[in-house]
């Protein structure tokens, strides 16, 4: 069953279709949120995203554009958490705690891609996550991040360059 069909059925009021939609997109949403925020807040923010999705679903006019709409909502929730001094401090504290208190999580964070993403600035990181991990088109990334297509391309290029530099640096040190 296509996403569009599931969305339309959910909009009609079919609870089973809504549950299937949540089940289908739960992991991609969580992955995006987790790559943008720390593990502590990922579950809460992902749940917040789903609440906003359920509230907005009856008004969604383009069911065939569900994925970009979903990630626009996810991005809004993530941006809200990243905004402000408190958020920055909280993020730094959480990152410290993750390393000190949870060595397994710290190891996971050092895995190639995750470690790489954490090194990138937020605008480049989110484009990389959306484009490579969520497999969205450049046009969809532009719509979600509310920037022109050219900006997405330049951010992708910069993200690739920063990633290459980061890997080279790591390789050089090793």
């Amino acid at each position: 069953m296509t996403d569009e069909l599931l969305v339309v059925r959910a909009q009609l009021g079919e609870r089973a279709a809504l549950a299937e939609l949540v089940d289908r997109w739960r992991v991609p949403v969580w992955t995006y949120v987790r790559r943008m925020l720390d593990a502590e807040r990922a579950d809460d923010v992902a749940q917040e995203v789903w609440l906003a999705v359920v509230r907005g679903l009856p008004r969604l006019r383009e069911p065939d554009r569900f994925a970009p709409w979903l990630f626009t909502i996810a991005r809004r929730s993530v941006t809200d958490r990243l905004r402000g001094r408190y958020a920055r401090e909280h993020e730094a504290l959480a990152a410290d705690r993750a390393i000190v208190e949870d060595p397994v999580e710290a190891l996971v964070d050092r895995a190639e891609l995750v470690g790489l993403l954490a090194e990138l600035p937020v605008p480049e990181r989110e484009i990389l996550v959306l484009f490579y991990l969520e497999d969205l088109s450049i046009e969809d990334c532009a719509r979600i991040c509310q920037v022109p297509v050219g900006t997405v391309k330049s951010r992708l290029n910069r993200a690739r360059r920063l990633s290459r530099e980061h890997l080279e640096r790591k390789g050089y040190r090793a």
Binding site: M1, L5, A10, G13, A19, V22, A46, L51, P63
Partner: protein, 154 residues
């Protein structure tokens, strides 16, 4: 967090009680506004200051409830196509009943029938428009489901 946990976390937002409360707030506020407004406008002579103040306070309270209900229905509580159709028919029934009561009250008081009919008419027209819109939206979604399942099958 598992799929089951995610969906369970959404249960309160999707509960029937919550939807009913939102629609009830909207309807109570709207019916109250129409009722108090029609009574006020239908008064034959000039009213004392305190009575006007009382009418104004009642009207503001009812408008606030209607606004709160409207905000719940449009922003906080998801009303899917079927819910909207049901809510629209409940609204239409409430509008017709309110109009009947207003006209009856006006006839009993011996004046203000025109105002009662005008206020009730607006109320019924809005409820009817919402019902038509809700049915059209549901029909469009059902049509799209048929198109998509037709495509899926062939």
């Amino acid at each position: 967090m598992s799929a089951r946990e995610t969906i369970e976390g959404l249960e309160s937002a999707l509960s029937k009680g919550r939807r009913m409360r939102a629609v009830t707030a909207l309807l109570t506020g709207s019916v109250g506004t129409a009722f108090v407004g029609a009574l006020w406008l239908g008064e034959p002579g000039p009213l004392p200051g305190r009575t006007r103040l009382a009418f104004a306070v009642f009207t503001v309270c009812c408008v606030a409830w209607a606004g709160y209900g409207g905000w719940l229905v449009t922003r906080r509580v998801p009303l899917f196509a079927v819910d909207r159709v049901i809510a629209a028919w409940i609204g239409l029934a409430a509008a017709v009943a309110t109009t009947a009561v207003l006209v009856a009250a006006a006839v009993q008081r011996g004046g203000g029938v025109g105002v009662a009919l005008a206020v009730g008419g607006v109320f019924v027209a809005v409820a009817l428009a919402l019902a038509v819109r809700a049915h059209a939206r549901r029909a469009a979604l059902l049509r799209r489901v048929r198109e998509l399942t037709g495509e899926d099958g062939g």
